[in-house]
Structures are given as C-alpha cells and as structure tokens.
Amino acid sequence: MQLRINGQSVEVNADPEMPILWMLRDVLNLTGTKFGCGIAACGACTVHLDGQPVRSCSVPVSAAEGKALTTIEALGRKDQPHPLQTAWIAEQVPQCGYCQSGMLMAASALLAANKNPSDADIDAAMTNLCRCGSYQRVRAAIHRAAAAMRAGAA
C-alpha cells in the first residue's frame, strides 16, 4: 500500500485493518506516537490526516490511503520547530512526557483552524488525557504559540 507519511511517499506492507498507530510504531518504527488506551479515549496516539486530528489507535491504515498522514516527528524541524514546540519548551509543559506527542498534534490542529483560541476553545479541543496534570501549562503554551504565530504572520 502506498501512503503519504510526513511528506514522503512510503510503501507500507501492512494489513489494511491494522490501526494506523501500530503501523507507525511497529512497522515503520515511528515511535513518537504513543499507545495509551486503544479506544480513542486518551489521545496519546493523535496524528493528522489531511490536517485533521485523529486518534490513530482506532483508525485503520486503509483510511489513510490518498491522504496526508502527519506525526509528531514532522510537526517541526530541528532548525525550524513548530511555534507550539517552542512554546512547550518556554512553558516547560512536559513532565513524564508520554502524552505530549498527542497533546501537540491536537494543539497544532486547533491552531491551524483557530488563530486566536479562547480558553473555552482550548477546553473543547484539548480532550487529551495527561496523568501528570500538565494541563495548566498546556493551556498557557497554546496561548503563547498562538500569539507568536499571529505576530509572525503580521
């Protein structure tokens, strides 16, 4: 099966029923996307399909055909991080860090759709779970990144 992953065309030998999560992790060794619950409840496995956030533990590989699949590995580059990654470092968001790939993918989808999210917008979009309780800093970092992106675009 031919897939477009992180901007590259990739030939993937996987069962079309296999959830995208396991294809990424166990077939392609792209381990940045995490397994948390397997029932789309926690968001640790969030990736983008054509820019939309999806919980990859519950979406089959077949659903990625013909779409652009983006993972945390391609959110930014070392020399050009995504403003959210910069904000995440500035606000020192992660603790154990396990949920943060999913948090960042959910947050980047939010900012792509909404350049100036309110607290209520963040509440509604950020339903990912974090057992360490980094939520307060997640919120602050999203506001910080949104401001930086607006300033950058101006």
Partner: protein, 754 residues
Amino acid sequence: MKRRTWILSALGATGALVVGWGLMPARSRMGSPATMLPRHGDVALNGWIKIAKDGSVVLAMPRSEMGQGVHTGLAMLVAEELDVPLASVRLEPATHDKIYGNVAMLVASLPFHPLESEGDHKPAKVQIGEWMVGKIARELGINATGGSSSLADAWEPVRLAAAAARASLLGAAAAHWQVPVAQLHMDAGRVHHASGRSAHFGELAADALRSPAPAVPKPRTDWKLIGTPAARSDVPSKVDGSAQFGIDVRLPGMLFATVRMCPMLGGTVAALDDKAARAMPGVRKVVALDAVAGSTAGFAVVAQTHWHARRAAQAVQVQWQQRAGGGLDSARIQQDLLNALQTEKGFTFYEKGDATAAEATAPQVLEATYTAPYLAHATMEPMNCTAQFKDGKLEVWAPTQVPGFARDVAARVAKLDAEQVTVHVTLLGGGFGRRLDVDFVAQAVRVAMACEGLPVQLLWSREEDTTHDFYRPLHVAQLRAVLDAQGQAHSLRIHSAGDAIAPRWTARNLPALSGPIDAPDKTTAEGLFDLPYGFTHQHMAHVATRAEVPVGFWRSVGHSHNAFFSESFVDELAHAAKADPLAYRQALLKDAPRYLAVLNLAAEKAAWGRPLPEGHARGIALHESFGSIVAQVLEVSLQGGRPRVHQVVCAIDCGTVINPALVAQQMESAVVFGLTAALHGRIDIQDGVVQQSNFHNYPLLTLAQTPVVHTWLVPSTHAPSGVGEPGVPPVAPALANALFVLTGKRLRALPLTL
C-alpha cells in the same frame, strides 16, 4: 504489640546485620572510580562523577525519570558544585552498586512523629532508629525511585562527590602550575589562574585522580544554580517524539507480545485452546504465564506487531479458574474492615495523654466513619518491558522505579546469576508507585526465554493494566473526639483498618527479607498518627488486614486516604466548635510553627475570608508527608449539580528548594491527581473481577476541568524534603471541606458524591 516493644524487637532483629561496620556517613557513599561504567577516554573521579575527554561532566544516574524532574534536579547539584552550565552535565546510567541505594526512603519508613524527628534536637530513640535503619538501608543498597526521596537522599552524597571532584581538579591544576589553590577559580568547565593560564576539566582529570582532596559542599551563600527555576533537561526530547520510553525500544528482529491474565485476581488458567490464535497471520507463539512477583497467571501471545498479538490474544479460548479462597469482593472487604474496627484494637502507632479517661467523662462526643476505595495507578504508558536472552546473557529494557529488583526478578525467572542480567532503565511514562513492582518484567523475561534469542517487547493493554494493578488499598477509619461544653475538642481517637502495603511488597520483591509475621507498617497509619494538632489526649491505632487484593504504593500512599480522614474530621471539629476552619487550626498549631507558617501562607495568598461570588465556597486542608508540609485553599462551585473546582492555592515547605519551577509543576500535578481521585477514583471488585477497565469508566480529570493552581514556597534552610507526593493528600479534604460549606453535606466516602 505495643509500639515500644516493636521498636526494640526490630532493633534487636537488625542487630545482626550491623555488626562489624563502623560509622557510615554520607561520605561512605562516594564510591570508587571503578563503580562507574568504564568508557574510553573518561576518567571517573569517584562513584558519581566522571570527566569526559572533552571536559564535560558525567553524573552516574541511579534514579528513574518519570516526570518528577529528578534527572534535572540531581544534575543541578553537580553543576552547582563544579560551576558548569547545567546543560553540560551528562547523565549515564548508574551500575547496581550499593552506594546508589536509597537510604532516605527507608529511613522515612520509621513511624516517628514528625514533630519529634525534624530539626537538630531529636530524641535519642529517633536518633538511634534513624541511625540503625540508615545502616540497614546502606547495607541493602536498594535503588528505588519512590517515597519522594530522591533529592533528600542525594543531597549529601552527590554534593559531596561533586565537591570532591572539584577539589581534586583544583588540586591537579595547582600542582601542575605550582600555584596555591586559593589563586584558582572554576568557570564553565575550566580551571583558571590569575596569571591567565587555564585548562579544561578533561586536561586535568587524569592528574585529579591522583590528587584526592578533602572537600565540603559549597556554602549556600555561594549558590548560583540551586534555587533557580532551571529548565528541565528532558523537555526538548519530549516535544518532538524522540524521547525513549519503555515502549519505544526497537531492536533488530524484535517481536511484540501482549498478555491476558485471569480476570479474577489471583485466579489461574484451567484450560486453554490456542489453535485458532496460533493460525492467525503474524502470530509466533503463545506462552503460559505463571503467577510471579505478585501477578495473576495468564498467557502471552507473541507476534510480528503488537496489533497481531492483541488480535490473536482475543482469539485464544480460555477457561479461567477462580482463586482457591473464592472471588474477592470490594464491598465485602469494606464491610469486613468496618467489622474489624468493632472487634480488633490493632497496633497503637501514637498515644498522648489519656484518651480513654477523657472519653469516660465526656459531656459530648463527636464520632464519624470514613472510607476510601481501592485505586489504580493508570500511568499513561501501560506496563511494558523488553527482554532478549542470547548467548547465555539476558538483557532487559524496562521503565522501572527499581532497577535492582528488575534485575533480581529477571535472574530468578531465567535461572541466571544477577551478573548475567543487564537492565537498561528507559524513561517512564508515569510511575506513581506502580513501577515499584516488577511483575511485568518477570513476564517479559518468561516470554523472551521462549523466543530463541530474539528480543521481545511485552506490552499490556489498558484493560489489563487497569484490572491487574497493585491497588491503593481500601481503608476505613473511625474518628472520635471528646468535646467540652463549649464544643472544643480536647481528645482525639483514631482507629483505622486496611491492608498493609510494605509487607506484601517486600514478600514480592525481597523474599529473603520477608518473614512469617508482618511488622507494623507506617504507611497504614501515616496521616493519622502524625498530626500536628495539639489535642491534649490522642490515641491512634491501626488494624492491619489481609484482604488478598494485590496492593501497592500509590502516589502519597497512606497519606492519600488518611489525610482525607483526618483533615475532614478536623474540619468537622471546627464547625462543631462554631469556629472558622482556619482559625480553629491556627489555635491548635501553637507548638507546630512550621505547619502554622505554611497554613498562614496559603490562607493569606488565597485571601481567606474575602467574600466569594455567589455559589462559590472555599475549603482548607493542611498536611505533612514525606517531610514536607502543604496547605491548600480550594475554591469550588456547583455546575449542573457537580463540583467544579476553580482555583487551588498551594503553600509548601519542602526545606531547601533546588528548583522552584519543578516544585510548582509537582503542585499542579498533585492537584490534578488528587482531584481525579477525589471526584472519580474508585476500583470495585466483584467475584474477583475489577469492574473498571479503561478511561471511559476509570476517568481522569481533563484540561477543561482543571483549576488554576498557584504555588507559594516557604523559604527554608532545612535539607530538601519530598515534592512529588506531598501535594496530593490535602486535595480531597480541601474539596470535601469546601463542599460542606457550599452544601451543608459532610462527605465521608471517597470518591466524593453529592
């Protein structure tokens, strides 16, 4: 058994262990250069510090990073002593040497009242007890990341080791340049002389090894880094997906496994038909799993991806067998514990005055019964471990809080010597005490031994993780106060019951140290026997039960439920005395100035007493745990009939603050963790089966439900004490106390349900 008898017998029993050693101060944990892993070009100066060829500093890291920031915190101690930027301290996994054993954690298991064991003027029994247990801990050398003890434990030995490295580097430069040490200074990894000569650490290291010099850590007035909000070293790798957790280990030819364990805790496999499963694509084999290191028996399926293994595991036809003693039932266990309070006296952890006499002449008694359920840890990274047995050697990659136990259990399962086992500790996707157990390591090794030299990554589903935890034990308590005619309490009796954790954990992980009789376990009574309030008469006893549900250490352990019992009841006493809950506590803290300062700071910053919006209410709670005192003022309202917490103001005295940003993170973290438990947390067991299975029925607090958390630190020059756990205990009582103000209902069972 009386408390004194127990202490004496414990000291007697341990006497044999300590014969033959002299005094072992922190200096004895310096270790020798050979203690560190050799690597070409590096020069180890002691068991903690190496200097690399390029002059960078390498710290042996025994503690596990699970979000608490310990890798950053310990590195800060070293960077401070050696005057290098924090970023230039590299971490290297520590070996299994006993110098890395956690002494502070074991010393903290002594059931001394904190008002007796803090400060410089400790009674003899405290001094002797701490000395004895310190010796035993030093001899055992258990490397554990737990009990909020990492900084407290590392404080002396790591600073001493870094100071010694500093002194010998300076000594080497002084000898080389024939100048007095007093004319030298260190900066950014170089030694400088006033003449302009300078050399980097790497150029001096070989000579430094030959110039050991006596050293003491810097005085606090010289600190530049300690006390600053330095950035965590692990954050960059946690924002681009490159951080390596246990499940991210990838090895050539690696197979993937998942488990199904008997859904009935402690049950077994009666019959198993894996024919269909083995015929499924990608499946390699099915491996039987016996009950080991506290686990429940079951089987593992090994396949080419985790998904293939998961699918095939569901296709295995299995007949489960209930445990011999019958199915466990949490409702029945709770009733048994309540009954035990009526029939058993338990072990007396604390006695002051004469509560019995006070009760005999009581004009008024206030009595209440409190309960707390079993809880699961729910780390975001489910239990997992990777293992490979090849050429007679076993290699294990594990997100664990106890690498030595992981090695021991791996060796036991594989029937190897511990020396044939290498354990690599990965980052932990949360720990909270769950990873102080190594059942999943034992399972991975069992599977790897059946896989002909190939590496296998064993990963549990969320459902197995939730239903096969070592749960925070269910506890109940009865609290009774005697009130005078004005409603003022002068006598407090607390009688509680529940399973002890430490003896079960010891039996699973240190079988050689486990005896037929359980010693009293401080974790059952912490948060009840150690209150700061000056009631004239106090009595606290605990009935240790054996309900046979697997129990383990859950962030803040006994304090997690006992603070709810004690701080809610103190609030009840305040209302009975028609007193303001803050003023009531203040009046009882005349002999506990540290507690009073923390309480006052939280109250002041939360503007206690200032009117709130209509429909809002405040609650307050104060609690000491792991050597630190935390007060919280919480503001709540009801939305759709359910509690909505708006703000929590935290004040903490955790001794010397290494990194205030890490302390604030842990307070925010603790509030979310504590509210999750207070509002949602319960594990129910019926016929041996845990009823909750995943986040839909064991929910966590979400971002939208998270209050604003403000943290305030009490300045202190005491040695550092715990930070990772102490923020959790006051959350539930602060919320219950606020809900009482709001609704008039006193909630005495967790989770809080209006």
